[in-house]
Subunit: 332 residues, 2 copies
């Protein structure tokens, strides 16, 4: 038990198991869905881990709760601070509410309205910043200094990564229950907590399964970093509809996991993402936010050849405003 | 085992149990979802049975497969005929494909495109009719006479009702696993197979739970029939966006079940339904077709007071065309 921020040790598979025990009865065991129509679109056998049905509408609750639940009572009293474009915000706010903690969230002013409203609904205080002009880390650290609160990073934290890894643990168990051997799993990637944790879980549970990240065009730092062998950042000034996948670079821990465990990173365009949102609508009856659809987009756009293969994709979140969703349906 | 059409006996709870055994591993055990945001909108504790995630995108697969799986090999060889606005069509087509049977479906020419395309994708032959000018039952019976095929009615059949009842069986088990006592369950109602089967299952599993139908304005034959004590039909010429809830009247079996087991029927407007579709989008990340959202609409519109109560609603299907969905999001 510790109240310190990110520790410099990598999480291991048993941390994911411990996270699953902490989350039992609190996180939704989201279904692993299958659709013949989606198979026809992709040319392979596709399973979709519906994390949009998770508490708070994205996988982020898992990591946030797993981290905050390990704080001692002194640390819990001091509260938690986080910076997030919205899904980590909701995850932290919801976990803090469950644990009786005060939460302060630093969010970009252009975050989707639904993410702001939901974060507030869990009782969190929101501090806005301008995405292009201010450093969210600096604002968060100022609040930490003032309140002595715990800063919970969005991805570069062993407890957060282990929590997100429970997605991979569930995929492995669900595939086994269906008698399915997974050739590959793809998860959306911003800082790499979800895909890193998922790869960690699968390395123990299903070592023959290759794990890939999916990144938006202009934010493919992980793909370039894996090629270079060291952490690279994204160029400033790029745009993507994937508002939750805009981290500048992966973290120290997440990049170490990615180098060791990932088979690669697949890059998708905004158009690929909108088509995947429409496919999730038509074939799965699921609401995917743009970022949440990135892994499905990778397989639909043929970034990983699905022919004759069995692939699970993580549909990681569904927090999207109505007009943006209607627009994606209309364009795709 | 019999190959005859609807038998004049009412199904009983053990028929629902037998249906569940037949459907095990074939039907999706759809999740019972909960959302604090939805609770706030309704003023009570609301659970949503996500049947839009069912195979074929609606609950109809359950009843269709349960009926066709009981046919002997001679009857299976002769094939199956059904008439349907689209969800029973998909259910029958998918079940027939799984059982190696030929399926012919009589569908209205104005059925949602997604329902037509999906029905065809399971290998069924489609015969179109004009909703206002032709009698679908007559067309179906002509095909039956020509081919000697089994006619599978959309609701007034003990095997179909028992299959749909597995929705209720799962709700009871899922609520029990959550430690939740359900005050009420609401299900959309056209001919009454889903709500009748659900009430049948709950009468055995959770006898303290009241079961209500939800019907669209202009198609509230069940509400009026329950008041009159005999089966009444809907007036011709009315319109509703609930394309799957336009049956002229309930059936002999379904009305007998409704009189015995239902607490009442709640009537919702098209506007109530569109608001419910938008709420399912915002709070549950689920795609609801208009008919599928009718029960949620009833509780959101206060047709059943949710204050201080725990209510499960069946979100019965998600087969809706993209433009219709975008329009509902924009208007609600």
């Amino acid at each position: 038990m510790t109240s310190s921020a990110a520790e410099p040790r990598l999480p291991n598979p048993s941390d994911v198991e411990a996270a699953a025990a902490r989350l039992s009865g609190l996180a939704t065991a989201t279904p692993l869905l299958h659709s013949p129509a989606l198979d026809r679109r992709c040319g392979g056998r596709i399973f979709v881990k519906a994390e949009c049905l998770q508490r708070t509408g994205s996988f982020k609750f898992r990591g946030a709760y797993n981290a905050l639940a390990q704080l001692d009572s002194d640390a819990r009293r001091r509260g938690v601070v986080a910076y997030s474009s919205g899904n980590h915000a909701q995850g932290v706010a919801c976990a803090a509410e469950l644990l009786g903690m005060r939460a302060t969230i630093v969010m970009p002013r252009d975050a989707p309205r639904i993410k702001v409203a939901n974060t507030r609904s869990y009782g969190a205080e929101i501090v806005f910043y301008e995405r292009d002009r201010e450093e969210r880390e600096v604002i968060a650290l100022r609040i930490v200094a003032e309140h002595g609160a715990e800063l919970l990073p969005p991805f570069d934290d062993a407890r957060v990564i282990a929590g997100q890894g429970t997605v991979g643990l569930e995929i492995a168990a669900q595939a086994a229950a269906l008698g399915v051997r997974l050739d590959a799993v793809i998860a959306p990637c911003s800082g790499g907590g979800l895909v890193g944790g998922t790869a960690l879980a699968l390395s123990a549970q299903s070592p023959g399964t290759k794990v890939y990240a999916a990144e938006p065009e202009g934010f493919d730092d992980l793909r370039r970093s894996l090629a270079a062998g060291s952490r690279l950042a994204n160029e400033p000034g790029r745009r993507s509809i994937c508002d939750a996948l805009l981290a500048t670079s992966s973290g120290v821990l997440t990049f170490a996991l990615a180098r060791r465990l990932l088979a690669g990173s697949l890059v998708v365009s905004d158009e690929d993402v909108e088509r995947a949102m429409a496919a999730a609508f038509d074939d799965l009856k699921l609401v995917a936010e743009p970022s949440g659809a990135a892994a499905l987009a990778a397989v639909l756009a043929g970034k990983l050849d699905a022919t004759g293969r069995t692939i699970a994709v993580v549909l990681s979140g569904g927090n999207v405003d109505r007009p943006a969703f209607a627009q994606a349906l209309g364009r795709a």
